[in-house]
Structures are given as C-alpha cells and as structure tokens.
Amino acid sequence: MTQDSTAAVGIVVVSHSAEVADATVRLVAQLANLPEDGPRLVAAGGLADGSVGTDAVRIADAVRRADAGAGVVILADLGSAVLSAGTAIDDLLEPDVAERTVISRGPLVEGTFVAAVQASASDGLDGVRAAADEAADMDKLGDRA
C-alpha cells in the first residue's frame, strides 16, 4: 500500500441524509477536540438535489478531500451507504487512493468519534479502522465488569 505514515488518516462520513452526515462531522470535531492540523473529517450525505439517498460520486470526492496520504476510513449508515461507498472505491477512485481507503463496520456516530480520536493520535489506517469497527461494542454505560 502507498501510505504516508506522517499524515493523519482521513475520515469520511456517509449518510442517506446530508444533515446527519454534516452534523456528525461537526459533533465529532467538537467532541474529539480535533486540532487544526488533525485528521480531515469530510461529510458525504444525501444526493446533490437534496434528496435522501447516497451518491458514490459525492463519496469519492469526499475521500479525495479527506486523504492526506495516510488513507481514509469510511463510516456509513445503512444499506445503500455501504454499497455506494464500495462503488466509489472499486469503480471511481484512482487506484492509489482506492487501495488505502476502507469501509468500517462501526456505527456512524460512535465509529466516527473513535476513528477521529485514533487518527489524531497518529494511529495508522489499520489501527483507525479497527478502532472504528469495535465502536459498536464500546462500554457506553460504563457498567461492564
């Protein structure tokens, strides 16, 4: 893989709703207290005409903007969000960017938050993806033994 280990891993938030994607990015940037030069968080929600849905072309553009050379983790909501993200990787992105772009199985808000924290801690693509994947299992209530 072609990865720049000095850059931060980028994160793309894909939702059927532009509002949900934009708000998730704003929320996480604040919760994770991301520095100015930290990981790039880019929203790719809804269709260009404002309809609910997902658009692989918008996702591919978002990945290019999020990529600083260290790769990109995509967090997606449901159904077509995952299919459109896969289409962006397999059919739209340039091969060098595509090979350092992955889709996480993590939940949208929690996964984006955990990924952003990991990415700002300079973890690499595999570490950021793994953390985002495991976010579904986070001890949200703090009551696990």
Binding site: L47, A48, D55, V57, S80, L83, G86, T87, D90, D91
Partner: protein, 229 residues
Amino acid sequence: MGRTGAHPGIALGSLSVWPMTTFDLAALRRFVDTFADRLHERKDELTALDSAIGDADHGINMDRGFTAVRGKVAELDDGTDLGTAAKTIGMTLISTVGGASGPLYGTFFLRLATSLGERSEADAEALGVALRAGLEGVAQRGKAVLDDKTMIDAMSPAIDAYDGAASDGMAAALNAAAEAAATGRDRITPLVARKGRASYLGERSANHQDPGATSTTVMFESLRDAVDG
C-alpha cells in the same frame, strides 16, 4: 431492433454465419427510452412491492434515475462509443437513484462500459460478455448469491439463457434472457430474503414478489424490445 437484414444468415458449407444483428448507440438509446418509459409507467407498482418488504422507494428511485439517464443519453453525440454511453448511464445512476439500486444498477452499467470499450457496435458475443461483466459487478457489489432473493435471481439466469441462445443471434438471445429473468423473478417469490432491507423482515419477506428482481426483468424485456422491436 439492431440492424437485421444487411447480412442475413448465410450458409457457408457446414458453417453458418448467424444473422448479423448488432447492438449500437441507436439500440442503446431505444433501450434507455423503453426502460425509462416502463419504469415510469410501473413506478407505483414497484414502490408497492417495495413497501411490502422494503422502504417503499424502489419505483420512485428507479424512475428518478432513468429520467436523468434519458436526458444524459439524449445529449450524447451520435458518434459516441458504447463504452462511453454505458458509462454515462452508470455514472448518472450512482448519483441520482439514491437507494441500493443506484450503486447496483450503476455498477452493472459501469462494468458493461469497461467491457464494451470503444466499440461503436457489439455483436451477440460481445454483448453477452459485457452483460456477464455487469452481472459479476452486481454480485460483487451486493455480495448476493442465488436464492438470496435479490435482482441476482433474475439477472443471473437471464445471462445464462442469453449465452445458451447466443449462437441463434442477438434477438433470440435477448428473448431467452427476458423469459429467464421473469421465471427467476417468480421463482423466488416464496423465499425468505437474505440480503437487503427485506432481509430484516426475516420470515415475513416470504411470499412477496421481489422489487429488484422485478425491475431487472423489466430491464431485460426492454433490452429485448429495443433490439427486436
């Protein structure tokens, strides 16, 4: 209709040259117009099927997508090659459909585009190779296999039937494909869905006709009629 007639089948000793029907930009435009018309006419039917087991948007999404495709394909220069035209269809679908059928049908046409390349016309064999590349793209994208109760259950037998009849010419192959798609669509109605939104319903998805397999059947019927009609 592709062009039949210019070179009717000629017997060359024991070899025959099959009817030289070809698929060209004019045929592709007829296909798009026919499919877009039928999706529009059947929008409510597709949406009703999807409201039973999905999120009630399939008819609306496909109609929106192919209305956009029709406009884009009409704008293409008459000298546009088939790969560029099919890519225009795929790119338009992935941006305008919105639901799962956007990336699925979009991938189908993008893979068709790669296979057709710079050809201005495709013979029965080249069209069959392109259709199969499209099917493989859809299967890869949706990770669906036969009996998952998806569009694959119409598309896969359609393309097998096409290949089986391709030596009889493109019109015969597309006719076989359309019939096999309809058979596949009906065969899976009793099944429980294992992919897509319908799979969240579990047993309740049984005995509902699948909307994706239905629109795929309309696609193959439109392709048949664009070449044969």
